[in-house]
Symmetry: C2
Subunit: 728 residues, 2 copies
């Protein structure tokens, strides 16, 4: 890997799943896994559609994969020349992430000589429905070649099948797969057209849920035979007009592959113009960070007014294609500072799910908005009460992600507050933002408890960011974030009373604001917050954390009886120890850097870091960020690289119990950007403007990037000796 290119130079079957993630393409409407042309569902091919979900029988509700229009393979003398079934002689796969172009070249040994196939593809950033593919075959002998290409509707599903009805047919030279999902009868259509440069007749064949074009021709040695394909994908709950699909696809075909590709690259150029971060003196960091930014853009909902980003991006159905707090906590800032319209889209999505959040809160006897832990369209919480499988018994294991991770609501408020502060787009408040804020405050108010005669409010029975410790009381992070929600609600509605009495009156009618505000003010001051304690000034992660067994991670690892066993849950090896899954107190300190001195923050970093498994992609960047802020950028650096390279590294945590959890890690990608910008460069909002306070690791000479703040573009340059922010 170097510059803007990542590449493999050999074929390894065990890497198929990982490379599907690492070489992902996407445009926010769909994600296309970095799989090879001839792959089928066994190799986890996925054209993952943003915002389309389906529930099959009583299985987990999950996102839907479209039929694959890229399916292509070649035959010679009745033998298929495809990986992984046939070992290639030469193989390479690459991704130019500057231009978002995926390529592969593979040479197989056939009896009379070598057969080389080559392909290039892009998921158009210019036209969300379009995928382009150029596929070629070349032999070093004269012989007959058969090339199949078309649509494979036998898609990969984790909890499928999702299509209860599939039609495959040809119409005016276009192949179509029109499918209907079982639950909501969503119509998903994949269409495919070809610009063939192969001197052959074409016949259409259907088999095994595939509709394929068959080209048989006498290949001449060392001549390249090319087909160019354009695919068009759309979906609608109301039904997709197939005629329209065909027309649009034909228009695209008329433009031609090269023109479609040029427009795609131009669209990416515009993204890179605002997005690129230049890290001087460290090519590895520079490349990994921009690679991370590539991924964020592949999955950003830029074609929608109201949509969000799943925790595994658009890399498949892992985590049910659902949106987690990851988006607001770890991805939001990148968009807020570079493409605030997308940040707005992310917030609007949550506003749209307010009704679902209200229903969820009510189902647990609470008020207000309890946002979904695994959020699908309309706020449906896809999370199961049994979200991990016990490896010892094969039974579903009761987990408390869904019902006890109450902090999810606060992350949304935190993002909304930042959005308003950075954009001054108060309009969003009138589009449901006020309600979101109020319902969030009402939610936290309703979960508070007081003991005995105490006037102190506590929050009991929650799961904090560290999921290995379930059902704890007074999780430091959760309580502090709840306090933030109360603070924000009071601030915004006190202001609204003065600035817009009419709107205030409207809300007052529904929420009795006049009485509510003083109550929230009282709660604010009485909410229990974990404080630094003892000589060491450590903030206890939750009540009783300090009483847990002290053990180091390596010792804990020796207690494992099964490689895939879950560390948390009721019986996990970490549960009754001080070992935590991910940054928890440290995340709190990152969110509220002004609460405590750098010294206290550092002490807590030093205490918690060795006790953190970093078993989540949300962990490293928080440790990195806090290390920068406490003047330890060199300690921050390895965590930054871990975050930025989360999807470049083979291996990694692929299982929670028996549940596959592989996929891309956009939260890590966003976290890496946060470290670079807020950590190394030390960008912050100060006195209604931007300021920097560099905290560069030794091996980084400088860092340069653009940001947008209140509709103004800035260029930021930070070096060890001097820094500048200028309007451009």
């Amino acid at each position: 890997m170097s510059g803007w290119l990542i590449a493999e130079d050999r074929f390894e079957e065990q890497d198929i799943a990982h490379l599907g993630n690492e070489y992902l393409s996407g445009n926010g409407f769909m994600g296309v896994r970095g799989t090879l042309d001839e792959y089928k569902k066994e190799q986890m091919v996925s054209i993952n559609l943003a915002g389309v979900y389906d529930k099959h029988e009583d299985k987990w509700r999950e996102s839907v994969n479209a039929p694959n229009p890229l399916y292509t393979f070649v035959m010679h003398q009745n033998e298929v020349y495809s990986v992984p079934d046939k070992e290639p002689v030469i193989h390479s796969q690459s991704l130019d992430f500057r231009n978002a172009i995926h390529k592969r070249v593979t040479t197989f040994r056939a009896k009379p000589g070598n057969i080389t196939i080559e392909s290039e593809r892009f998921v158009s950033m210019d036209n969300r429905h379009v995928i382009g593919l150029a596929f070629s075959v070349r032999t070093d002998f004269d012989g007959e070649i058969t090339l199949y290409t078309g649509i494979d509707s036998d898609v990969w599903d984790i909890n499928g099948p999702h299509f209860i009805n599939k039609q495959l047919y040809e119409k005016d030279g276009i192949l179509l797969a029109s499918c209907i999902t079982g639950e909501k009868k969503i119509n998903v259509v994949t269409a495919e057209g070809v610009l063939s440069k192969i001197p052959s007749d074409m016949e259409v064949v259907c088999r095994d849920d595939k509709i394929l074009r068959k080209f048989s021709f006498d290949a001449r040695a060392n001549q390249t035979y090319i087909i160019e394909k354009v695919a068009f994908i759309d979906w609608s709950e109301r039904g997709v007009s197939q005629t329209e699909c065909v027309n649009k696809l034909q228009k695209a075909l008329q433009l031609g592959y090269d023109e479609l590709k040029a427009r795609h690259i131009e669209a990416w150029d515009r993204i890179w113009d605002i997005s690129e971060v230049r890290i001087d003196g460290d090519d590895e960091a520079n490349m990994a960070l921009n690679y991370s930014i590539y991924h964020l853009n592949c999955i950003a909902p830029r074609f929608s007014e109201s949509m969000s980003i799943p925790a595994r991006g658009l890399s498949g159905q892992v985590y049910k294609g659902a949106i987690f707090w990851d988006t607001e906590m770890f991805m939001f800032d990148y968009f807020l500072y570079t493409q605030p319209k997308i940040a707005r889209t992310l917030i609007k999505y949550r506003i749209e799910t307010l009704d679902g959040a209200r229903k969820k809160a009510a189902s647990y006897g609470f008020k207000g908005a309890f946002f979904a832990w695994e959020s699908q369209e309309g706020g449906i919480d896809a999370c199961s009460d049994f979200n991990v499988t016990d490896v010892f018994t094969g039974r579903p294991m009761r987990t408390y992600f869904k019902d006890k991770q109450v902090h999810v609501t606060s992350a949304i408020v935190y993002a909304l507050k930042k959005y308003i502060k950075n954009t001054k787009d108060n309009q969003i408040l009138y589009e449901g933002g006020y309600e979101l804020l109020l319902e969030s405050a009402l939610f936290y108010k309703s979960i508070l408890v007081r003991r005995d005669e105490s006037e102190l409010y506590e929050i009991h029975d929650v799961v904090g960011p560290d999921e290995y410790h379930e059902r704890v009381n007074n999780n430091a992070y959760t309580n502090r974030m709840a306090r933030f929600v109360f603070d924000t609600a009071v601030e915004i509605f006190v202001k609204l009373r003065n600035t817009d009495p009419a709107e205030f009156g409207r809300l007052n009618q529904r929420y009795d604001l006049v009485n509510l505000i003083p109550k929230l003010e009282k709660i604010k001051g009485s909410l229990y917050l974990q404080k630094p304690s003892g000589e060491e000034q450590i903030i206890e992660q939750f009540d009783g954390y300090f009483k847990l067994e002290e053990v180091d991670i390596e010792t804990l690892r020796t207690r494992l009886l099964h490689e895939k066993e879950y560390w948390g849950g009721a019986l996990g090896v970490a549960t009754h120890t001080r070992i935590i899954k991910q940054a928890d107190v440290v995340t709190m300190l990152c969110m509220f850097p002004d609460d405590y001195s750098a010294e206290i923050m550092k002490k807590n970093w030093d205490f918690y870091e060795p006790r953190t498994e970093h078993g989540s992609s949300l962990s490293a960047c928080m440790y990195s960020l806090l290390a920068c802020r406490t003047g330890n950028p060199d300690a921050a650096y390895p965590f930054f690289l871990t975050s930025a390279k989360a999807d470049l590294k083979k291996g990694g945590k692929q299982w929670a119990g028996n549940i596959y959890i592989g996929g891309t890690h956009p939260a890590s990608a966003g976290g890496a950007w946060m470290v670079a910008v807020f950590g190394f460069a030390g960008l912050k909002v100060k006195n209604n403007g931007l300021a920097v306070e560099g905290s560069l690791p030794e091996n980084i000479k400088g860092i340069e990037f653009k940001v947008i703040f209140r509709n103004q573009l800035y260029l930021v340059r930070v070096g060890h000796d001097k820094s500048e922010i200028k309007k451009i």
Copy 2:
């Protein structure tokens, strides 16, 4: 079995553990398992000492077994004639539970003919230290017999060894084993003397932690050779004088075996005079109930002023020899109504543990007294946070018996209140009863929580009687019992203010009673209680119980993957279903029969009974009692028999995870008495006197028993047509 005798007529090796319980002898100072003379620790011999505990290394703290002075076996031609190693030709074992005499007769086939051994033993109810044994051997051939008898100090331990120092020696014809426990250096002494009628020299041999007398003699055909043994057992934290032991044992030997036995039987006669319950028309019920009463008396702390009864009686170290709420809830009433001095002793034990209970409460951040779940001397809670072993991983499993079964405190207050009401012995209040009551009320006050703006007090995060559902909110039983504690505290201290201002003043100084009482009064009225709801008028066992999976017990059983797996805990098969371990709401209705109409009680019985596994010996009697009270004695009857025969039935629940939980079930025994007296006979306290309201099953013609109420002895006779209570 019939009348006052239970008997086995064959030897079955797999019954050894069970028979040890079924044929138990005891006098409250010690329990002697119904094992055979030749048994060793492998056959679970146990001379279990009441109130003596020890902790070995980091294992569970448990009760201590004394060296066994009954160890005896015979040899012929270098072969041992003992079960289980040698298959007997004829074998019987019996227990006359009227006179508390244990017998066995066994015939073995030897080469020249048959060898028959016979023994009779009793654990003296007249002298707590004494055990008598008459052992004989007879052959139907002439031949040499060697008889060994002495002390086996290689005792059975579950979490031992507990003796760090053992001395075995002979002194003035007496054999002694003097042992020191590891933790508290308690001196346990077993001494043994013999009245030999065997024409043989005797020599003393020591081997394998045993000190034995060896008698070798030429036995003549059909002549019986008898030895009579008297054992003396004592213990002290300060050290036992061995000279004194020897002297006392020699005095007992001078009285002779027959006189010791006669005094023992007389002592039992006095017990039966007040204790016997006559059930007319149902021999099985009559026998099983009196058998249960036998067991209660074997383990009653009649030789102490302050002691209690472990959940497994004195049948060994199961459940660590610890005292549970079982005593107050299920055994207390029998003693209260027949031997109120023993009831007082039970209460005094809890008063003595008040300091331990205060420390336990404080350790969880609560006030007042949180009594031990598994209570040992001084209120030490022997319960571990990991009280079950996971059969799938062999790991200790986190359970919440110790820290969340907050209802234990209320059971003690409930018993204290009954004791005062029935005996008018207010003196006990001045001996710590007031403090116990106050500290209990303070404890419940400190665990209350209020939500949001609610003035309603709730109790969260508890385990109720049904242990299969951990960490629930507002368990109906727990909240109602807490309410009872508040009620009782207010009633008693309001009264005290008028009747004894000096004592009130003393307590006020420490507890600020003047301000506390109004607070308790306010809480009383604001404590949330689960109420009958819906058309069916079912009381929800805890918040959210109705949302759990509806499944029948048989279906649940099919989900088991391992015969010993624990049904509760975080991952148990019952945990997320409506299947409960034992009576919970039904126990509450038994405790507060005036809260609801018989119709509502019956509806709740009908709802919960099919959902109850009855996986605890505390369950059947509550269902039985409530069935009587709702006019369904025939439905009550089978549950009564289950309770009364808990220790007669082979099999039963022997495991919780990988932990052995066998032993006697005195709570069932006490529960059977409660059903007979409060259920079938319908005895109740009414207008400061006793009343009956019979509810006899069809096959019981009448029931007759004596009770003591306020120092007055009563004879109660209840039939289907007429009933009477008369002073005698």
